[in-house]
Amino acid sequence: MTETVSTMTQARPAGLHLGRLFERIALLVVWVGLIAIFGALMPQSFLNWGNFSIIFASYAPAALLALAIIVPLTAGDYDLSVGATLTLSSALIGVLNVWHHLPIGLVLVLALAAGAVVGAVNALFIIFFRIPSLVVTLGTTSLMTGIVQWMTNSSTIGGIDNALVMAVVGGRLFGVPYAFYYAAAAVVVLGYVFDYTPLGRRLLFVGRGREVARLNGIAVDRVRFGALIASGVLAAAAGIVYAGVLGSADPYSGLNFLLPAFAAAFLGATTILPGRFNPWGAVVAVYFLATGITGLTMLGIPLWVTNVFNGGALILAVTISQLTRGREASDIG
């Protein structure tokens, strides 16, 4: 019982390493390729920093929303309510700031708190009553949609405090509006938490093996609870940035963000750290799709093509990622 045969090389043929590396950066490569193509077609208007700075800023709410989704998704829960939470948050800002004249600082705190409350309500039903997360968040989506319509009288509320607008799209750093940096900060923080902290490991184990996590001393319910709250708060933050970008509160758009954000979360799980929902991947996916849509729009290509692009990119990327791993059952979804 002394011999220890190393099967390492045997188990991981050299080709595999390259394949995996390729998979990690494939989406980035395709992104660069896309930029190159649009750049060649429109060297003036597409290939300039101004264009990218605007893509970065205007998709910041979408990026935050994709991040909001992957936190509970990693812990094994679906949160469909992030779209409605985004709307709720921006509607609250409109109603409280514009109609009730509350100071914007206070209003932002209240919006984030509302996001936390949504997360807590979801968590109550998901964790305490043990109802599937898909069902609960489908229900709260409908509930919040109704509440927002009631609050806003179903109308767009313009005239949000200029301080918010300035803080989101007024100021620029390297030509890029601040909005982007809020999303970037969220990615950095989440990326750090996911990869470099024990909390990130716990999240992952809770998502992949609840009972295992529990027996290893992880407070599973607390981790799931925290993930849902984080999701609510991030979605509310997305709502704040959205309100800041627009300078107004729109009671209907939130749900339009939902499916694309999920698509980005899944697409992001094919890159950087393939097979896992990861913040960097999610954000790369958001901006990859944004680049495609912007480029197509600038070329004046009809709108329906962007829908085809969105759907096609998702399916294609996941399929290719799947093929590099020999079609083994996927760990995501």
Binding site: T7, M8, A11, P198, R201, G209, N216
Partner: protein, 543 residues
């Protein structure tokens, strides 16, 4: 002995009977990704024969079984004949049923969230030609089948509400029922494949199972029996085929072989049976932990003491409650009452116990359900190894991945995990190697008390010996161990003391020279009389 009739035209192995074999396979190979699970296995099973299929963990037994179930497609080139009829590989789903095979799979093959009726009548419910299910008739058929085996389980109950024993029995009843129907339909001998059916069965269940096996063999049908319990195999089989690393290691006629020969063929080298060393002078160890009044599940208020550096075994008939003990002490399952008193004065009411608290107190638990409760298959070995310890690698605000991998590699080397690549997913390891990783996880923390539930279930003899040695060494260094197991042989080999449970209470204590496999088994059966009960706590098999 040469020209044995064989549908696939090869020379049969020595000792093979002359009748047309029920099952005849040749050159079966299976590659998973890059790993070869089977490398050209050939053997045959004669009508009426009980055929043992043995091998270390990962040697490919279950893979072979699953190929016969049409679950895995074997590599190209294998051949299969059933009752002399050549069958195309891979088998299509459900082919096995047409041929006359039935299975008890390693994990039983039941759907937990569905009812006993649905699971038991699986074959009929999913293949009936009539296009209409007569539920009344199905229920009657199910009751009749259960009744034939002396089982009384509500057919409308969900399988996940059954006890492990009931579940195992259900799977066994199903396999024997299906083979009965199949043989009646084909008029030819059938084949029942039992992949480690015994770990969950109480002794009398095993005996009843053996009775069933013999009766089915008497009708001319055959049985393939897989187990890591050599004694069981010696008792029930006529012949034995041994796999090693996916290849045929040899074949034996049971009657002509000894226990030691079988073990040697399995592991490929001689292993000294640990026997019963050191039990003669059971020196009383100083107490480390006093467990008082613990009650939960089937366990009534129970007191016991674990010594420092002691390996304490707990066992009993299934349903006697001993198997709950590790989970209750660890706070993994709700406790009705009870408290722990540590030698250092710490007093912990069990109602307030949680896995987190237990870990802080220096306890560790290795659950019996490896995939469901012990490790996460889809995550890397290194993360699985250090799951409770990640905080240790979190320095200066960063998780030190490099250090984790380095330490995991060292641990892997120490516990002979093969292959020892910490970045691989746990699922890439065989069951036994995965178990080594999980044991390493806990041993590495130097717990004061290690709680084990069936630590070597489904683990081959070679690996078992390794695990035992590691436990001994740790105990010698002062770690206490509480091991719940139904495996008397294992308890006899490693324990300093064994407590026998009956009806949720400790009813006997075995130490010293009595601490043998037979001694423990006897005590278990005596326990029925000791508690004066007339009925086992769990539904039993009527004779």
């Amino acid at each position: 002995m040469s020209d044995v009739p064989s549908a696939i035209g090869r020379v049969a192995e020595p000792g093979a009977p002359r009748a047309l074999p029920v099952l005849d396979v040749a050159d079966i190979a299976k590659t998973f990704g890059g790993a070869k699970a089977l490398r050209g296995v050939s053997f045959s099973v004669a009508p009426g024969e009980v055929h043992g299929l043995l091998g270390k963990n990962g040697s490919g037994k279950s893979t072979l079984v699953k190929i016969l179930a049409g679950f895995h497609a074997p590599d190209h080139g294998g051949r299969l004949a059933f009752n002399g009829e050549m069958v195309d590989l891979p088998l299509k789903p459900g082919d096995f049923r047409r041929l006359g095979m039935s299975f008890v799979h390693q994990n039983l093959g039941l759907v937990p969230s569905l009812t006993v009726l649905e699971n038991l009548r699986f074959a009929h419910l999913t293949t009936a030609r009539s296009g209409y299910i007569d539920w009344r008739a199905e229920r009657a058929a199910a009751r009749e089948a259960l009744g034939r085996f002396g089982l009384s389980i509500d057919t409308a109950e969900r399988v996940d509400r059954l006890s492990p024993v009931e579940r195992a029995l259900l799977a066994i009843v199903r396999a024997f029922e299906e083979i009965r129907v199949a043989c009646a339909a084909t008029g030819k001998p059938g084949l029942v494949l039992l992949d480690e059916p015994t770990p969950f069965l109480p002794r009398e269940g095993v005996e009843k199972l053996f009775g069933l096996i013999r009766s089915i063999a008497a009708t001319g049908s055959s049985v393939i029996f897989i187990s890591h319990d050599i004694d069981e195999v010696m008792t029930i089989t006529d012949r034995i085929t041994v796999l090693r690393d996916g290849a045929l290691a040899g074949a034996l006629e049971t009657a002509k072989a000894t226990h030691e020969e079988v073990v040697e063929m399995i592991v490929g080298r001689r292993i000294a049976r640990l026997g019963t060393p050191g039990h003669q002078a059971a020196v009383a160890k100083p107490a480390f932990l006093r467990v008082s009044g613990v009650a939960g599940g089937a366990l009534a208020a129970t007191d016991l003491v674990v010594g420092k550096g002691e390996i304490l075994g707990v066992t009993g008939l299934i349903g006697s409650g001993y198997e709950e003990l590790p989970y209750l002490i660890f706070g993994a399952r709700p406790c009705r009452a009870g408290a722990l008193d540590f030698v250092d004065g710490a007093h912990v009411p069990l109602a307030a116990m949680s896995p987190k608290r237990a870990l802080d107190l220096g306890l560790a638990l290795l659950p019996g359900d490896r995939q469901g409760a012990s490790g996460v298959d889809s995550l890397p070995i290194v993360d699985n190894m250090f799951l409770p310890d990640v905080d240790r690698f979190f320095r200066f605000g960063l998780l030190n991945r490099r250090a984790m991998v380095r330490e995991a590699f060292a641990l892997g080397t120490r516990y002979e995990v093969r292959p020892n690549d910490p970045a691989m997913k746990l699922s890439a390891l065989s069951g036994g190697n995965a178990q080594k990783v999980l044991i390493a996880r806990w041993m590495n923390r130097n717990p004061r008390l290690l709680l084990l539930d069936e630590p070597t279930q489904g683990v081959d003899v070679g690996t078992r010996v390794q695990i035992f040695a590691a436990l001994r060494a740790a105990a010698a260094a002062g770690m206490s161990v509480l091991c719940a197991s139904s495996d008397a042989e294992q308890l006899a080999e490693i324990c300093d003391r064994v407590l026998i449970f009956a009806r949720g209470r400790v009813c006997a204590e075995i130490t010293g020279p009595d601490l043998t496999k037979d001694g423990i088994a006897e005590a278990c059966y005596a326990s029925i009389d000791l508690t004066g009960r007339t009925a086992p706590a769990a539904p039993a098999l009527a004779s």
